[in-house]
Symmetry: C2
Subunit: 139 residues, 2 copies
DNA sequence: TCAACAGTTTAGAATGGTTTTAATGTAATT
DNA sequence: AATTACATTAAAACCATTCTAAACTGTTGA
């Protein structure tokens, strides 16, 4: 449980003005028991349900991108027509249920260490992400 | 080097009528020395340059999706606003150079086996894809 | 060989997620 | 309180992708 005051200083410390909208989005995203995955559309709906407020779509996009840039959110690479975000910023991997278009977290221990042998001069590894696609098992 | 005749029978055997457009796209995609990555836009440009033909955008989309469904192409999961495809259908993974927006193939031996410990009832694993994001190494 | 059918191509319109615009509003600073 | 820089907003624009419906073409069987 994080208080509004804490969100305000977190935002200020990040160089983001603590506006009503950003605080609301913080509460929606970072005050949950568990981390979760969402699309922008999901987030808009959650805000509409949870508060009776309405935050403009553009602001939701702006805020999510700002939070991503600050490292408070991670975008999950999926070849889908919309972006998925994750409030779990720890290093971890995903199942993607193709039929249901749903993401499921994998723990580090579910996958085991991944050792990348190849290097590219002048580049360093920023992240290593495994996406396991699931389909229906008909048998 | 694959002949036109071979592409025709490959298409027929897949239940796809060997049309002029599909044969052309086969030649562009599968007659290269090396496998490569492309977007739909890339492919349209290649076709325009290589032949003086013009294939309708809708047909390019249709054909790429048909080929993907038949397993002759693979879509690569990246959190981008457009789809990337790969003519390398062997089991392999990717580097993604964030700065240059370029994909680089990793060989199986560059990554080693990945062992997924978790299972979901009624679902089976369709694919396991590793995306290694690279950033500039400033030091 | 030819007719008939089913599958394919096409240009252009529609769709839908995301970004831009430019006007209005608000937090921070003086 | 005035100023300034940053934020929010609705609506328009953007752009990759999909859809539509009419024209076209490969295939089949008589």
């Amino acid at each position: 449980m994080t208080t509004t005051v804490e969100f305000i200083s977190k935002l200020r410390n990040s160089g983001l003005r603590p506006t009503k909208q950003r605080i609301k989005i913080c509460e929606v995203l970072f005050n949950k028991e568990k981390t979760f995955h969402f699309t922008i559309n999901d987030l808009v709906k959650i805000i509409e349900n949870e508060a009776n407020e309405k935050i403009s779509l553009a602001t939701v996009y702006n805020t999510v991108h700002a939070f991503e840039k600050k490292g408070y959110l991670k975008e999950i690479p999926i070849d889908s027509n919309q972006s998925y975000f994750d409030t779990n910023i720890a290093d971890h991997h995903h199942f993607y249920d193709i039929a249901e278009k749903k993401l499921i977290d994998l723990k580090q221990t579910d996958v085991g260490p991944i050792n990348i042998q190849k290097t590219i001069p002048g580049k360093k590894i920023k992240s290593v992400e495994v996406l396991v696609k699931l389909e229906t098992d008909n048998q």
